[in-house]
Amino acid sequence: MAILIDENTKVLVQGITGAFGARHAQLSLDYGTKLVAGVTPGKGGQKFADVVPIFDTVSQAVNETGATASAIFVPPPFAADAILEAMDAGVELIVCITEGIPVMDMMRVKHALKGSKSRLVGPNCPGLVTPGPGEKSHGGCRIGIAPGYIHKRGNVGVVSRSGTLTYEAVFQLTQMGYGQSTCVGIGGDPINGTNHLDVLEMFNNDPETEAIIMIGEIGGNAEAEAARWAKDHCKKPIAGFIAGATAPPGRRMGHAGAIVGGEEDTAAAKKKILAECGIVVAETPSEMASALMKAWGK
């Protein structure tokens, strides 16, 4: 089952001929992902890695290949347009990896997504992985830039705003022998397509997911909202971690969304709310998996 993607998901990559997009498209192919199409305007008719057809538009790619998910690797000035194009083509899951999209652009995109049948994950995110059954989780679906080999197929759902912290949590889990159902990087921007709460709901409804790690950081109130929802609705054990306890107020900590604006969006405030809602909060980032074991009774 997993959520959002599985080994049968047909994936296309927008910006497949750029250095970054090409590198990660190849890694997804190597992982066993069903990468069925690439899109680069002006390069339609060519092939990526001798096997993946490239199209000029997302519509053509979807019509010809039946792709239902897209990974976007196009540069920031063109990324909003790329998201809208994927939406127009009816792509169900749009995963935007691009970092540095202007907030005004995302504000308009977010509005356009309302009422559409597309779900956006990101931007400024590592993407998603549903690990496969093979060695080093080969045979799974990898959309984005995460290292596939650190995963293991299993029953823990991971949702996070940060890429490298997700890898850290996944690595800890895999080392302890616990695999993952799906890992979702929702991205570090202030306006994103999918938030913690959306993903918690999906994990809650997914029979394969038995426990959840939720990783957040300073800025905004998405983690608090998700925790309050989970308190009343989530049937599964959750461990949490919030990065940025030592971040000075008013400074943007790398991620555009990681900025303390008031008393409510500090790490301490969020940790307190998570704990009050029954989530086991990891004291340090080294203890994310062990905190989950505590919550899970393992």
Partner: protein, 393 residues
């Protein structure tokens, strides 16, 4: 990115947001000329630095105050002479103070009433939000805390933009009427255009004032710009004053490094913003104090690591370095070689703990061990943090 008061005035003028008359001056002669041009009005001279508390600050040459009333062009020249190319110390600058390169000669207006007016990009609604209050001239955080009923918020549709009825609504909330309401409406409409067209993240006027002669003016403004949009805002980028920024942060930005200086003594170098924040947190958790936030991004090339080392070592408070890299895709051995090259180039005068994890990690660790440099290897983040805290003592 911050801008100077005189630059905010330039933006207001360009978008026809009324503010007190003013002119910037780089010399005493220019200051006198500006004062002459505004003869008849009550005038102030203001030192231009990116720091608050100017009025109560002092210059290192003994001159008191970075803001003064002036009576004549001669006095404008005299005060400008005492401020320009002198160092102003305020509560926000720290003891080193800031060099004043420009002053502004501005009209000192009489005030009938003070208001608060701001436009912000609101995360919760993913739309611009206008915040207005009759309690102007004081900290809006205090107003929100003590008298929340005095704060009015209006979310603006992200695509339709600001509507006439929204302006009327806000105007009514502020109890404005007649010509004042008309002027306010024009001001807010233009302010909204400025907010959108310049890719602002925040635009705060505190106070917005009405005057006895029937004007509505933006008296003091604070701007925030979306860093992601600067590529399409050349006019805003041209306003950047690197002299006003932390030199370490300026150097870091030239190498695409995300660096923020802090007060502690343990520097860290990490790939990924979330992991970088978490690394600072874990240093603190084990009793140390982080000296910085530093995200080298997903790549972490040898050049970047070397540049990062130089910036870190340029901070005399730093007594130890923790490198924490989760090389998911990157080859840990390549990172190890980059660290060794950077350490050799910079001499490595202080303890260095390296925690590597991920792709080809065994090889990376072996390379570090074989380097004969004083590098301590760590297995986990917790291990690394404990080791560097111990090494610094």
């Amino acid at each position: 990115m911050n801008i100077h008061e005189y630059q905010a005035k330039e933006l207001f003028d360009r978008f026809q947001v009324p503010s007190p008359k003013g002119k910037v001056a780089s010399t005493a002669e220019e200051a006198a000329a500006a004062a002459k041009e505004f003869a008849g009005a009550k005038l102030v001279i203001k030192a231009q630095v990116h720091a608050g508390g100017r009025g109560k600050g002092h210059f290192k040459n003994g001159f008191q105050g970075g803001v003064h009333l002036i009576q004549s062009p001669d006095q404008a020249a005299e005060f400008a002479g005492k401020m320009l190319n002198e160092t102003l110390v305020t509560v926000q600058t720290g003891e080193e103070g800031r060099l004043v390169r420009k002053v502004m000669i501005a009209e000192a207006v009489d005030i009938t009433h003070e208001y608060y007016l701001a436009i912000l990009m609101d995360r919760a609604t993913c739309a611009p939000i206008i915040v207005a209050s009759t309690a102007g001239g004081m900290s809006i955080e205090d107003v929100a805390h003590d008298t929340p009923e005095k704060i009015f918020r209006q979310v603006v549709h992200p695509v339709l933009g600001l509507q006439a009825y929204e302006i009327r609504k806000i105007s009514a909330e502020l109890s404005l009427s007649g010509d004042i309401a008309k002027q306010f409406g024009k001001l807010l409409s233009n302010l909204y255009k400025l907010f959108i067209q310049c890719d602002c993240s925040m635009l705060e006027i505190n106070p917005l004032v009405t005057t006895p002669d029937g004007r509505v003016l933006a008296l003091d403004a604070k701007f925030g710009f979306d860093d992601n949009a600067l590529y399409r805002q050349p006019d805003i980028v041209a306003m950047r004053d690197k002299e006003e920024e932390d030199p370490r942060e300026v150097a870091a930005s030239e190498y695409d490094l995300n660096y923020i200086g802090l007060d502690g003594n343990i520097a860290c170098l990490v790939n990924g913003a979330g992991l970088a924040m978490a690394t600072m947190d874990i240093i603190k958790h084990y009793g140390g104090e982080p000296a910085n936030f530093l995200d080298v991004g997903g790549g972490a090339s040898k050049e970047q690591v070397t540049a990062a080392f130089k910036i870190i070592l340029g901070d005399s408070n730093v007594k130890g370095i923790l490198i924490n890299i989760f090389g998911g895709i990157m080859d840990c051995n390549v990172i190890a070689e980059g660290v060794i090259a950077a350490a050799k180039e910079t001499g490595l005068p202080i303890p260095l703990v390296v925690r590597l994890e991920g792709n080809n990690v065994e090889m990376g660790k072996a390379t570090l061990a074989a380097s004969e440099l004083n590098i301590v290897a760590a297995d986990t983040m917790a291990d690394g943090a404990q080791k560097i805290v111990k090494a610094v003592g």
